[in-house]
């Protein structure tokens, strides 16, 4: 580490940059010579350069000092030195937002932009537009209009580009220059034409009809400038996308016709536009891919690069379309431009067959050290994708990755490699030990805290369960001695897991822990003391609860509960069971339409979907006193698609109650619904105790109503129930245009689909990183076992999927992945039953003419075991 720093210092001291060690105050001092007469252009030029350099380095200038320097600079306008004047323009632009009263140069710039010196005119326009605001714009409008149609291309272009910048600020003024811009669009100069088109488009881009007209006009009349053509292609494809225009549209025809343009840039733009369109058919894609294929053998590196980069992207969506180019891509593998070679290889890795993997990997490793980090990440991503596609290739990949890990590289690159290795380990148990060994080696000299802690966590999780756990201890303890606080703390946690899992390692782990208790950092000491005390008890249950499987509560929920606890003085100890559980990250977080009230929480701990529901429900007076929200289901649709009313239901489970939330949308623009409730008729002894209506349901504005149900206290095994549901409401017809409702209304109702409550509504998923330990912890006091035959199920995968979705429990130890070509499998599931009872399920599955399944259930509560077995049966 220390060596590296030395090296850097040497490099920075090489002194190749004369501006390296500029002092702002010294430079500002020097700027005083701007006030001297006569002016010395050469010296002033040098000082302006320094000022601009400092500004570009992000140096902060206070308003007063900036203004002073700016006004001193204005004096330089008396010099007629061309270079100095142009440097002044640059300074004005750089300082426009930091100095006060920059309008002081308005007249001087106006004079330059209308003067005879052409080299001044364009830059003066650009500078003038930077210092002009909407009120001042009127004063220079006349000059801008003239400049747009000026004969000198640089003047016209400057005026057009500056106008484009000012559209954002003063749309209404710039809009008046459309005629001038039209005239400029027929210029013979390719840049002027391009800039004019840009301005015209931006003036119209919010008016789809106007854009369409403009496209029609220019696609018919044709343009001289290839830049303008590229722009037209972009506008056309954006319009196609927005209007979801079919590929029979004239816009698509236009883009396709550009594939035959004389200019390569236009051809590329058209090809790129086509391959990026959503829902392109193979036939539509073919001509675009074939021009890219042609470019692959172009003598111009830029074209080859563009082509292969685009093909690389296409390969993800349409690998078969790119296969046609495989031969051309093969030729690029040895391209002297390494970026091209990398892209070619990674593309081939995506489209090629398993047999070509080894050859391609060998090729890439011959030059991987020569390419930049950005491309190395591309390579790692390709490897990662490949590993998923061809799991058998993992040893080749692992080797390659470990070599890459040893090379120099930045954080993103290293993280990509580490993530890739970890995912290989998780997918392929046989690769675990080699993978861990590579990672151990890596953390020996790893400057990235995030990666070191991540790897230490993984070592703690996986290391103790390998055949030779002792070999990892040294690597972990080295971290305690050498690293920063965060890494030391992570190392202590990892060590504790070895002590908890392996009795023969426990004595030495205790000795090491003892040493960690003398650490200089609070967190490290606290962790060590805590683990030390837990480990010394030598109780499996304690180890499982406090070392292997940490807290599984929602962090924002815990924070709220603790806060609540401190508000009400009480003798009772804090009860962890009152804290809502964390919804495991594996449940997909879908974006909701309902949540509105939250988003004020700090970004880092984004509240989960359930935290949001918890808060919403808590704000409804009728639902206070229900306790913490235990589980919220995924939404169920209770109506067919495209009906008058759209209703979906979310089931919220509490300790003794359930709340059914009905999100309703009224799709009739001539009706206002009021007092909307969903009446529920239970099939079992569930009791509906309250309805919270949605007061108003106007056209297309979703609103929710709720039904509160008490769960049967006397029969804890009654976990399932079917409710028939009817939506009841008052209809008030209204004028579809104004939305004004009639005075009178009438009652009406609408029948919805049934809502089912099943066992999964009573169980919350909880991830136990070490299932074995948890299994021991719960113990066999209430263990029951039964065997079932699942006659209708054909594969193990299908059986696993069914059980998980039926019980709504969390698969642990990645047991939801059934290895290929196996005919038996063990699935382990963890969850918490309503009321806070830990519940674990182990299902041994065997495939033989259907699937037989032996289910073992353990829980801290006997009825729970019965309920689960009863519902499976």
């Amino acid at each position: 580490m220390i060596k590296k720093f030395d090296k850097k210092d040497e490099e920075s001291g090489s002194g190749s940059n004369p501006f390296q060690n500029l002092e702002k105050s010294a430079v500002l001092q020097e700027a005083r010579i701007f006030n001297e007469t006569p002016i010395n252009p050469r010296r002033c030029l040098h000082i302006l350069t320094k000022i601009i350099y400092l500004l570009n380095q992000g140096e902060h200038f206070g308003t007063t000092e900036a203004t002073e320097a700016f006004f001193a600079m204005t004096r330089l306008f008396q010099s007629n030195d061309q270079t100095l004047r142009r440097m002044c323009y640059l300074t004005i632009k750089e300082m426009a937002n930091i100095s006060e009263d920059v309008i002081i140069v308005t007249s001087s710039l106006t004079k330059d932009m209308t003067g005879k010196e052409d080299v001044y005119r364009g830059p003066a326009i650009r500078a003038l537009c930077r210092i002009t605001d909407t009120t001042m714009l009127q004063a220079i409008e006349r000059y801008m209009k003239q400049a747009i149609v000026d004969k000198v291309p640089s003047v016209s272009s400057s005026a057009l580009v500056s106008s484009l910048h000012m559209v954002k600020m003063s749309y209404d003024v710039v809009k008046r220059w459309v005629n001038e811009a039209q005239e400029a669009a027929s210029s013979d100069n390719i840049m002027v034409q391009y800039h004019a088109l840009g301005l015209l488009y931006h003036l119209r881009k919010n008016d789809r009809l106007a854009v369409t007209k403009m496209l029609n006009k220019f696609t018919k009349s044709g343009l001289k400038s290839p830049f303008a053509y590229c722009m037209l292609i972009r506008i056309a494809s954006k319009l196609l996308d927005e209007t979801e225009g079919g590929h029979d549209s004239p816009l698509f025809d236009f883009i396709e016709s550009c594939l035959r343009n004389k200019n390569e840039m236009v051809v590329y733009e058209a090809a790129s536009a086509i391959v990026h369109m959503p829902n392109c058919t193979a036939r539509e894609l073919a001509p675009a891919v074939s021009v890219l294929q042609l470019f692959c053998s172009s003598p111009k590196a830029a074209l080859r690069y563009a082509a292969v980069r685009t093909l690389n992207k296409v390969a993800m969506k349409h690998p078969s379309a790119v296969t046609a180019c495989n031969l051309d891509l093969e030729n690029l593998i040895t391209d002297s431009n390494r970026s091209i070679a990398t892209l070619a290889i990674t593309t081939l890795l995506k489209t090629g067959s398993e047999s070509s993997v080894d050859r391609l990997m060998k090729q890439i490793s011959s030059f991987v050290s020569e390419i930049s980090d950005e491309f190395k990440v591309v390579v790692v991503q390709a490897i990662s994708a490949l590993c998923q596609k061809y799991p058998r290739k993992h040893s080749v990949m692992m080797n390659f990755l470990s070599n890459m890990l040893r090379d120099d590289g930045g954080f993103e690159y290293k993280r990509a490699i580490v993530d890739c290795i970890i995912s290989i380990i998780e997918e392929n148990p046989e690769s675990k030990e080699t993978g861990l060994a590579h990672l151990c080696e890596f953390i020996e000299d790893c400057e990235h805290t995030v990666l070191a802690t991540k790897i230490l966590h993984l070592l703690g999780k996986e290391g103790p369960r390998t055949p030779q756990p002792s070999k990892y201890i040294r690597f972990i303890f080295n971290r305690v001695v050498l690293e920063s606080e965060a890494v030391r703390a992570a190392a202590v946690s990892a060590l504790a897991k070895f002590g908890a899992q392996n009795d023969d390692l426990l004595p030495s782990v205790l000795v090491l822990m003892q040493r960690c208790m003398m650490d200089s950092d609070d967190e490290v000491r606290d962790r060590a003391t805590f683990y030390m005390n837990v480990l010394q008890q030598k109780q499996k249950a304690l180890n499982a609860a406090y070392i292997f499987n940490g807290l599984s509560v929602s962090i924002p929920g815990l924070e709220k509960s603790l806060h609540q606890y401190t508000l009400e003085p009480t003798e009772k100890p804090f009860d962890m069971k009152t804290v809502p559980l964390a919804t495991t990250p594996i449940t997909e977080q879908k974006t909701e339409i309902a949540p509105v009230t939250t988003s004020k929480l700090p970004e880092k701990l984004a509240p989960s979907r359930q935290d949001i529901y918890q808060e919403q429900l808590a704000s409804i007076p009728e639902f206070q006193g229900l306790g913490p929200l235990f589980k919220s289901s995924e939404p169920l649709q209770l109506t067919e698609a495209e009906t008058e009313y759209v209703v979906r239901c979310i089931k919220h489970t509490f300790a003794r109650h359930m709340v059914f939330q009905f999100d309703c949308t009224n799709t009739l623009n001539d009706q206002l619904l009021q007092k909307v409730v969903v009446q529920m008729e239970p099939s079992e002894s569930y009791e509906v105790i309250h309805y919270v209506p949605a007061p108003n349901l106007p056209y297309s504005q979703p609103s929710s109503c709720y039904t509160l149900v008490r769960l049967p206290d006397d029969d804890p095994t009654a976990v399932s129930c079917t409710f028939s549901c009817t939506m009841k409401y008052l209809v008030r017809d209204c004028d579809p245009n104004t939305g004004e409702p009639d005075d009178d209304g009438y009652d009406d109702e609408y029948v919805l689909e049934d809502v089912e409550v099943t066992v999964s509504d009573h169980i919350q998923k909880v991830l136990k990183p070490n299932f074995g330990a948890a299994w021991e912890e719960v113990g066999d006091e209430f263990e029951k076992e039964e065997t079932f035959a699942l006659a209708s199920v054909r594969t193990l995968d299908e059986a696993v999927g069914n059980i998980i979705s039926f019980l709504g429990m969390q698969p642990c130890e990645r047991s939801d992945k059934v290895p290929e070509n196996k005919n038996s499998h063990v699935l382990v599931l963890a969850g918490v039953f309503r009321g806070g009872h830990d519940t674990l399920v182990r299902a041994r599955l065997a495939l033989a003419d259907g699937v037989t399944m032996q289910v073992t259930v353990r829980s801290s509560e006997e009825t729970v075991v019965d309920v689960i077995l009863a519902s499976v049966g």
Partner: protein, 210 residues
């Protein structure tokens, strides 16, 4: 700096460069005055006005618009090379004048003799100027143009100097000329006075420096 410039500098031939600040309320005619001095000056050096130049000077006269900020113009007289900062006179820009006080060697203050209503405003601005810390203690020459003397209801230069209380200025050389900037009348007379003052003050300075 070209070789010739250097040479003429050594030989004492090079004209002395002076910075002049042209101030006054908006619409008083500052820009018109400076523009008048400029082409006249060119014709001195480039010989009789070419056709092209006539055209330019005409369009310049037509195209005068209110100044925003300032403009720099240069012209030469028989012994001096002037760099004039023609400032804008609108009230919201007047506070920017002071940025240029320190380095100026002379001030031209222009008054619209026909604008009786705003004479008090002009006086106020003049007083502020004369009391400014960068001006107060300097013997900087101030030339007043009582401009637009051609207007029917224009006040005489005597009347203008009374209204501005110029007689109270004791520590600076000053002079007032009636002028018509459009025709160029009275301008040369004022400039001659200024030239003389600058020559004197530099002599004095040189004595003091010795």
């Amino acid at each position: 700096m070209g070789l010739l410039d250097k040479l003429s500098g050594w030989l004492g031939l090079r004209k002395k460069e002076v910075n002049v600040l042209c101030l006054g309320l908006d619409n008083s005619g500052k820009t018109t005055i400076i523009n008048q001095l400029k082409p006249a000056n060119h014709s001195n050096h480039l010989g009789p006005l070419s056709e092209e130049w006539k055209h330019v000077s005409q369009t310049q006269a037509q195209e005068i618009v209110p100044t925003i900020g300032f403009n720099i113009e240069k012209f030469k007289s028989s012994s001096l090379s002037f760099t004039v900062f023609d400032m804008s006179g609108q009230s919201r820009y007047r506070n920017l004048w002071e940025h240029y006080y320190k380095e100026s060697h002379a001030i031209i203050f222009v008054i619209d003799s026909g604008d009786k209503l705003r004479m008090v405003v002009a006086k106020e601005e003049l007083d502020t100027l004369l009391n400014h810390q960068d001006i107060r203690s300097r013997k900087i020459p101030v030339l007043f143009f009582a401009n637009k003397m051609d207007l029917r209801d224009a006040m005489s230069s005597v009347k203008v100097s009374q209204m501005l209380c110029l007689e109270n200025i004791r520590d600076k050389p000053w002079h007032i000329c009636a002028s018509n900037a459009i025709k160029g009348e009275g301008l040369q007379q004022g400039l001659d006075w200024l030239q003389e003052q600058i020559a004197q003050s530099t002599e004095n300075n040189e004595h003091m420096n010795e």
